[in-house]
Symmetry: C2
Subunit: 206 residues, 2 copies
């Protein structure tokens, strides 16, 4: 399956007609936001292309005011078929990119105070996200099983992450607070700031 912005637009338009702007808002804040991302710079060209291919049609609502006219896109029969063809193919593997985890992998190279800040900020972010989609969960249409499934999936994962992070927090911080033992760390390929940092910490503790 090729889940590019094209397919994404078709998917959203299969639920209800929308403008490019609205599609962007849906992927930014809506049911889709956990596992999808797309910006204006990709949505508008995608819609233009879909239109050219006849997979969507457009209706222009000219506002009386000075605003740019809204271009409301609607999926066509061919568009529906294209969406269903895409849905019938095998999904590609999930892709997860986390700079937070990358940093955690090298936690022994980060200043402990900084680490604590980053860690707590990440927890807060996950909690905010959980709150957001829990809120959405209440207003999901009952007749859309997919939306509910995806929402519950997201909540399950976020809850697990938050629990894990909170559980590990103290343990992790202690490990770095008591790191007077020092040098025990990695294979020596390069030790610089870490060593310096331990010295700094010791000075501060005196």
């Amino acid at each position: 399956m090729t889940m590019n912005v094209r397919t994404l637009c078709l998917g959203i338009l299969s639920l209800h007609e929308a403008t490019g702007y609205e599609i962007r808002k849906m992927v930014e804040e809506g049911t889709f936001s956990h596992f999808i991302d797309a910006s204006y710079g990709s949505i508008y060209p995608a819609l233009a292309q879909l239109l050219k291919e006849g997979l969507v049609s457009v209706r222009t609502e000219t506002a009386e005011t000075g605003r740019p006219p809204r271009k409301v896109y609607t999926i066509t029969r061919q568009g529906c078929a294209a969406l269903e063809a895409a849905l019938a193919t095998d999904p590609a593997r999930d892709k997860f990119k986390s700079e937070f985890l990358f940093q955690m992998l090298f936690m022994d190279r980060i200043d402990p105070a900084q680490l604590a800040l980053t860690y707590d900020a990440y927890i807060a972010e996950q909690e905010a996200e959980l709150a957001r989609i829990s809120c959405q969960s209440e207003e999901l249409p009952a007749d859309h099983p997919g939306a509910r499934f995806v929402n519950d999936f997201g909540r399950t994962v976020l809850s697990a992450i938050i629990t894990f992070l909170k559980q590990r927090r103290e343990e992790m911080m202690e490990a770095f607070a008591t790191s007077g033992k020092d040098g025990s760390a990695t294979s020596g390929a390069c030790r610089t700031a870490q060593t310096i940092r331990n010295q700094t910490i010791r000075e501060e503790e005196e």
Copy 2:
């Protein structure tokens, strides 16, 4: 933070020297594989650039045999500093892309038999991944807290996902098995294959 392939290479090289080929293997199968991806086409150019900038150095091991000589890269002091500078910046938000969830969002447009296959294949994939990293967990160096943390994080999330998926499986399949009620579904923007499909199912049940 800019966690591009450059930073990734620096990170891996900070653990131990490696060739481009080995780096690729590590992101494909190693501790990094959950939350990172990079192919040869991005790793080799990245290493070349890092070399030009003096962030890594290289040593060529010419094998007696006909193989291409291995180019073993080592991080330099500047490279270490660059890595630590990157680690000190705020991590960007996680990005998660899931074609599986996209398909699930539109589950009511997928042929139920196909859906079951995809669903089970996804569970199997997650289980395989969990098994793989659980296995790795045993051989993690005790002196690398980050690797353990990241590994445990991955196992926690995967376990939660697998439990969720198994729990929901029957419920979901039943919903589609009994979908003789039909038309109840989405806002009518476009209903094609779904309707046809329900008819087909009914025919098969007769």
